[in-house]
């Protein structure tokens, strides 16, 4: 009897901790206006995707790949993908059209802000990178490295709508901090 009670208590405590942990992940990025960033990208999407000459290849892999990321890995994968875009993609792409440059700048600076917000989550130990998350990030970098840098950059830019939709789905703000 006693052993049963103890195990029940333990189970309850574990469940409580898990729910708190999961809720903590969702508290990240609550002040993001994803809708605004998605709208900004929509304005240049056609022009960017038209420049992508390698239609049969994908860098972010298929959309199923992103959606198969487990909830516990979401924070880590978000952080890694933001770094991927900020450190590599936006720098490797050289835009000459001022209108498109303006929109890319807006998205890049918004990503920088998101990184800062996620940094706070990481400090609260809510953003642990497990093996699966690390593997997922590595796959994306490998895909990018297989293409010539300018083509890879334009392709990754063209796939921003997938990434933005995924962030919006996983980081919906339901309450104010």
């Amino acid at each position: 009897m006693k052993a049963q009670r103890v195990s029940l208590w333990l189970l309850g405590a574990i469940l409580l901790l898990c729910s708190v942990h999961a809720r903590g992940l969702r508290r990240c990025l609550i002040s993001m206006d994803m809708h605004q960033i998605e709208e900004t990208f929509q304005e240049i999407k056609r022009a960017i995707q038209a420049k992508d000459t390698f239609q049969n290849v994908t860098i972010l892999s298929t959309s199923e790949f992103l959606h198969s990321i487990k909830p516990l890995d979401v924070c880590c994968v978000t952080k890694s993908l933001l770094e991927f875009y900020v450190d590599r993609v936006f720098k490797d792409h050289q835009e000459v059209n001022p209108q498109i440059l303006r929109k890319i700048s807006s998205i890049a600076n918004s990503f920088l802000y998101m990184q800062k917000a996620l940094q706070q989550c990481q400090e609260q130990r809510l953003c642990h990178c497990g093996q699966e998350a690390t593997n997922a990030t590595r796959i994306i970098h490998d895909n990018y490295n297989q293409l010539e840098v300018r083509s890879a950059a334009i392709k990754s830019l063209g796939e921003l709508d997938l990434f933005l939709a995924w962030i919006g789905k996983n980081h919906q703000g339901t309450s104010t901090a």
Binding site: S31, M32, D33, Q36, T40, V86, D87, F90, K91, P98, L101, R102, S105, S106, A108, N109, S110, F111, L112, Y113, G173, T176, A177
Partner: protein, 312 residues
């Protein structure tokens, strides 16, 4: 020694004149001064002191770079959406500042082919330093409905509305309104009570809210007045119900009397066809008179019956 000093001062003078010589005697276009950003309710205005060149119209060019560009692509400056060439010494940079990061800004003056040096504000501008003011609010009393209309501040603004009944121990109700400019129903009020409303804005992208606006209160009219009105209306209605038929009847009578009077001559005043019989009645002829009176009665009766039959 003296000669050397004179030569060095002449050299300084010469060097100072070189820019003038190179620009054919025209002075260098001065850069704009006193740059500052005034930001209220997420509308950002870059302002500076105008550059004055007598007789000339000066244009200004504004460029910006976000924190991303300053960290990773420091040579990239983006021309402002609205102020790549503007005559006014100010620029609405709201459409340029699209992320909550520090932005560097720079302005220079342009006169024909001449351009001044770039001028920058003392500090980078971050839109989270915008001044948020309490929202304008119109409280509407639509019958018993408490309705408010908040000012439209754009898609980045949400509103927190707090309303309560002004009585001791009353609970405050809170409602989130997603956008302004549209009437919003808060509550159906109870008569005789006073309701108060106040509101504040919340800007999600910077995670800040304004102070609350001044509370505005409205009162709903009590029940006593409508009751008195109802009673008054009922009494008036009853009066009308009685007075109107009465007056109609009276008017009808008046009309009847004036146009078709039904006046009948009494029997004693009726004149028979032999008026002498009546006048010649004396004592000795009383029997004859009575007989003639009877016959006149008969005459009257027969006459009246003939009249009743009317024209056939």
């Amino acid at each position: 020694m003296m000669i050397l000093e004179e030569i060095s001062s002449l050299m300084w003078l010469f060097c100072a004149l070189i820019p003038c010589l190179l620009t054919d005697g025209v002075a260098v276009l001065p850069a704009p001064q006193n740059l500052s950003v005034q930001s209220t309710n997420m509308k950002h205005l870059l302002m500076w002191s105008p550059v004055i060149v007598p007789g000339e119209v000066i244009h200004y060019s504004v460029e910006y770079q976000g924190e991303y560009e300053s960290l990773y692509l420091s040579h990239i400056w983006i021309p402002s959406s609205w102020c790549s060439s503007t005559k006014d010494p100010e620029c609405d940079i709201t459409d340029d500042i699209t992320a909550t990061v520090p932005y560097n800004l720079r302005v220079r003056a342009i006169l024909g082919s001449q351009t001044s040096a770039w001028s920058t504000p003392k500090h980078p501008f971050n839109r989270n330093s915008t001044i948020l003011t309490p929202p304008g609010m119109e409280v509407i009393k639509d019958g018993f409905h408490l309705v408010i209309n908040l000012e439209d501040l754009g898609p980045q603004f949400e509103f927190l509305v707090v309303y309560w009944r002004r009585e001791p121990g009353a609970k405050e109700h809170v409602k989130t309104v997603r956008s302004g400019g549209i009437p919003v129903h808060l509550e159906t009020m109870e008569s005789g009570a006073v309701y108060c409303v106040k509101a504040q804005t919340f800007v999600k992208v910077i995670g800040r809210q304004s102070a609350f606006s001044q509370a505005e209160c409205v009162k709903v009219q009590g029940e006593t007045l409508p009751l008195a009105l109802a009673l008054f209306a009922f009494v008036g209605f009853m009066l009308i119900l009685v007075v109107v038929p009465l007056s109609i009847w009276k008017t009808g009578q008046l009309l009847r009397y004036s146009c078709c009077p039904g006046v009948v001559l009494p029997n004693t005043l009726k004149i028979t066809n032999s008026p002498q019989k009546l006048t010649s009645c004396r004592k000795e002829e009383m029997e004859v008179c009575t007989m003639s009176m009877l016959s006149s009665e008969e005459l009257f009766r027969s006459g009246s019956s003939r009249r009743k039959e009317g024209p056939s």
